[in-house]
């Protein structure tokens, strides 16, 4: 039975769905990375994802417009990000605790809205695969990489884009400076609070899109608590990827491949207890984090509020 895993179709299947499953990790973790590089730890990613997932799903259900769905997710994500910013930057609440609050809020709110507004699980028509002309016809490669949906392509484009913004723009320079030494940035006229509001809001938007990618592109359905810890794994991926976009890409792919593998194990009916298979990604999270703890430290000002004295 195990050998069923090693046929060409299955391997292509695993890699192709692995790429697809990496999508929510990429959006959420890249967003979280921006926040952390500027010194804000957002543990509310999971909650932001759940709300984004619900809102996008709801809009598709009512309007059948995918564009409106994504715009709505962006709006909700921005609001959640701004709220997180207000609490941690303006009111200077402890970031970790505030994040847990936003997680619980997002989870509760999405549940409540789902029960009040919809109630029964209904499938929708979400983003469908787009075959890229020519590239999509290449055997194996085409199937794996170039017959995915729009949100998958955008997620992978986000990685080099994030790298570019962080390393080649004045905004990126400000973000890095604010996360390492906000006093120094402030003394040079950089508006520390503004930079942090920006990254936290961006993080909210990307987390929300991450949730939407689950509900209107990958699964085309909304279920209560459907993110199942992916938001927390996204936070872990930022550490795993040493706060770098391409490191995060590597981590996201590792996790999603393991996830895909475990799904295929269940599909093929390979006699490994399914509970064990489902646990794989989480066990991996813990292992990877333990091992990566020895690697470089994060931004020096991470979790530290900034206030100019006097």
């Amino acid at each position: 039975m195990i050998k069923d895993l090693f046929t060409a179709t299955v391997i292509i299947g695993i890699i192709s769905s692995g790429i697809r499953l990496a999508t929510p990790y990429l959006y959420a973790a890249i967003g979280e990375m921006f926040g952390q590089r500027s010194g804000v730890l957002n543990l509310g990613v999971e909650g932001q994802m759940l709300l984004g997932a619900f809102v996008a799903y709801f809009v598709v259900l009512r309007t059948e417009s995918l564009l409106l769905a994504i715009l709505a997710a962006i709006g909700v994500g921005a609001l959640m990000g701004l709220a997180m910013g207000f609490v941690t930057i303006q009111l200077q609440a402890t970031q970790g605790i505030a994040g847990i609050g936003f997680y619980l809020f997002g989870m509760g709110m999405s549940n409540l809205l789902f029960q009040k507004l919809i109630g029964v699980v209904e499938n929708i028509d979400g983003f469908s695969a787009i075959k890229i002309p020519l590239l999509g016809d290449i055997p194996v490669i085409g199937e794996i990489f170039f017959r995915q949906n729009l949100l998958v392509y955008l997620a992978f484009l986000l990685v080099p884009l994030a790298w570019f913004v962080l390393n080649k723009t004045t905004l990126g320079l400000k973000i890095r400076a604010v996360g390492e030494n906000p006093e120094a940035a402030d003394s040079l006229g950089v508006n520390v609070a503004l930079v942090r509001y920006f990254t936290v809001t961006l993080g909210g938007i990307l987390s929300s899109i991450a949730g939407a990618s689950l509900s209107v592109a990958l699964l085309n359905v909304f279920q209560q608590n459907m993110t199942a810890g992916q938001g927390f794994i996204a936070v872990a991926l930022v550490y795993f990827g040493s706060w770098r976009p391409f490191g995060i890409l590597a981590g996201a792919l590792l996790f999603s491949m393991v996830n895909a593998l475990q799904l295929w194990i269940q599909v093929l009916g390979i006699p490994i207890p399914s509970e064990l298979a489902v646990m794989l990604p989480y066990i991996l999270t813990i292992l990877v984090l333990t091992l990566s703890l020895t690697k470089g430290k994060g931004p020096s000002a991470l979790t530290k509020a900034f206030e100019r004295e006097g």
């Binding site: 080649k168 723009t169 004045t170 905004l171 990126g172 320079l173 400000k174 890095r176 400076a177 390492e180 030494n181 006093e183 120094a184 940035a185 402030d186 003394s187 040079l188 006229g189 950089v190 020096s300 100019r308 004295e309 006097g310």
Partner: protein, 519 residues
């Protein structure tokens, strides 16, 4: 608001006046009716003890603190400086006491930070780098724009700070204790740069609490004490003694340990000690150092060259990789701090609030931290409160600790009194040896004097003392022999009577005097 990088459209600096400046913090009047002025082409020094309000005055000028009262007049025009951006746009630059650099970024990135770029949203580090090299060559500074800040020495980092200010078109530069972190040679180099800047028409405000430096570099001197201006004088018209009296508010004598002591046996004996540092790299390398009974050995060096590691190795706080430490011939290598304490070693740590005391404990409790579990402080696990109170009162009196009561929490004491509590605890137990790390850092002259007297007193009693200090003057005043540490190695040990500041400075920079310096 944007900072303008271009210096051409800034009006050249002619003069600055601060009049009647007042700045209050909760419970502290940091500046009170202070006048200070700088004209183009001069160094005006601001001299005063720690806490006199020097940094506050400069931070008000730089827009970091809002002034409560008073006015600032720049080039004849009254100005309001709400934040550093406004100050920068007025051509004011500041080199902070604690550098304002981002260690993980490059020199060029640090300089470019916060400035508009010639390439719009993209950074223009190539343009910035070119300009940095230009500016650096004007003042003979060697700076690699692509170097990461954390890889640079403290002296080099300071140059980056200067370049940063010049790049923003500063023509009035405020330097807050710029020499505190430098070797004597680096200080000379800094003074050269400062002289060239004044001859180019810059105005410089120079803060220091070191008399001889101020006298050497400045044209005029203003002395602050307790937030008030005591006086302003031409440097050429004032004596060191006057300045010192102005700073402290009374006659002071300069202490030195001129009396020759008969040295006893070797007390602390470090034999080829090596240990890793905080970062896991090599911290101490084959340290051989002996301290005799009745002797003060000063450990000089630029901070971060292994001083902390050395103190911790002797006191048992840090494991030793190779070598041995003996106390009176007895091997104490590998003992835990409690056991080392039992052997009669006392420690005055550099971070007195963090490593020496418990902030939220009162004086009584802090005084018995080391020996609370022993007779006469406790009996069968119960504290003997009446005895402890008596003990506290005795030490408070003996060590002249100024406190409302023995129940006052450590965190509510002033720096000088905190150090007195610590000394009281460490010295009252009649130690055989003392490791004192930066025992006067942050203290005012009066408290420093007191600490020095206490150390000399211990020396008379035959205690072996390792005095770790970054203040060469302190070491020259107290030590019998001076060891210089550089990158975890003892460069040399010189008798105080023959040591010169120049030689010590070279050693601190890792050069043996007489060796040719190669670049």
């Amino acid at each position: 608001m944007e900072i303008r990088a271009d210096q051409t459209n800034k009006t050249p600096f002619t003069s600055l006046q601060m009049r009647n400046v007042c700045k209050r913090f909760p419970g502290v009047l940091a500046n009170c009716e202070v006048d200070f002025d700088v004209v183009s082409g001069e160094v005006h020094a601001l001299l005063g003890e720690n806490g006199a309000g020097k940094s506050t005055l400069m931070k008000v000028l730089y827009g970091m603190y809002k002034l409560d009262d008073g006015e600032i007049i720049l080039n004849g025009q009254p100005v309001t400086i709400q934040n550093p951006t406004v100050a920068i746009n007025h051509g004011i630059g500041m080199i902070h006491q604690h550098f304002m650099l981002v260690p993980t970024l490059t020199v060029a990135e640090n300089v470019a930070l916060g400035l508009p770029s010639s390439k719009g949203p993209l950074t223009d580090l190539d343009v910035v780098s070119e300009r940095i090299v230009q500016l650096a060559s004007t003042y003979n500074l060697k700076i690699d724009p692509s170097a990461l800040i954390w890889q640079l020495s403290v002296g080099q980092q300071q140059r980056v700070e200067i370049i940063k200010a010049l790049y923003r078109g500063a023509s009035l530069l405020l330097l807050d204790e710029p020499t505190a972190v430098l070797t004597p040679q680096e200080v000379d180099e800094l003074f050269l740069i400062m002289r060239q800047m004044t001859s180019d028409g810059y105005g410089l405000g120079f803060i220091s609490h070191k008399l001889h430096e101020v006298v050497e570099i400045s044209d005029r001197i203003t002395v602050l004490r307790n937030g008030r201006k005591i006086g302003t004088q031409l440097t050429s018209a004032v004596t060191k003694q006057t300045l010192a009296n102005w700073m402290v508010g009374r006659e002071i004598t300069f202490i030195t340990s001129n009396d020759k002591m008969d040295q006893g046996e070797v007390r602390i004996d470090m034999q080829a000690v090596s240990c890793p540092s905080q970062r896991g790299t090599e911290g101490l390398r084959h340290i051989d150092l002996q301290i005799h009974s009745g002797e003060i050995v000063g450990l000089a060096g630029v901070s971060g060259n292994g001083q902390l590691e050395l103190a911790e190795v002797v006191t048992g706080l840090r494991p030793i990789k190779e070598g041995r430490v003996l106390l009176d011939g007895e091997d104490i290598t590998g003992l835990i701090p409690g056991q080392v304490t039992e052997k009669g070693l006392s420690y005055v740590p550099e971070e007195r609030m963090k490593d020496g005391m418990i902030r939220d404990f009162n004086i009584s409790e802090n005084l018995i931290l080391r020996e609370h579990h022993k007779w006469p402080f406790s009996k069968k696990g119960f504290l003997r409160i009446p005895y402890i109170n008596e003990h506290t009162d005795k030490l408070v009196e003996q060590f002249r600790i100024k406190t409302p009561s023995r129940m006052t929490l450590a965190k509510n004491l002033s720096g000088g009194n905190i150090q007195k509590v610590l000394l009281a605890r460490e010295l009252s137990r009649s130690p055989r040896a003392i490791v004192a790390a930066q025992p006067t850092r942050g203290l005012d002259i009066g408290a420093s004097e007191y600490v020095h007297e206490q150390l000399l007193e211990q020396r008379k009693l035959g205690t072996a003392i390792l005095l770790i200090s970054e203040d060469l003057d302190e070491i020259m005043a107290l030590a019998d022999r001076i060891a210089v540490i550089y990158e975890g190695q003892i460069m040399d040990v010189l008798p105080r009577l023959t040591a010169t500041k120049e030689d010590l400075g070279l050693l601190m920079a890792g050069v043996h005097p007489g060796e040719t310096i190669q670049n």
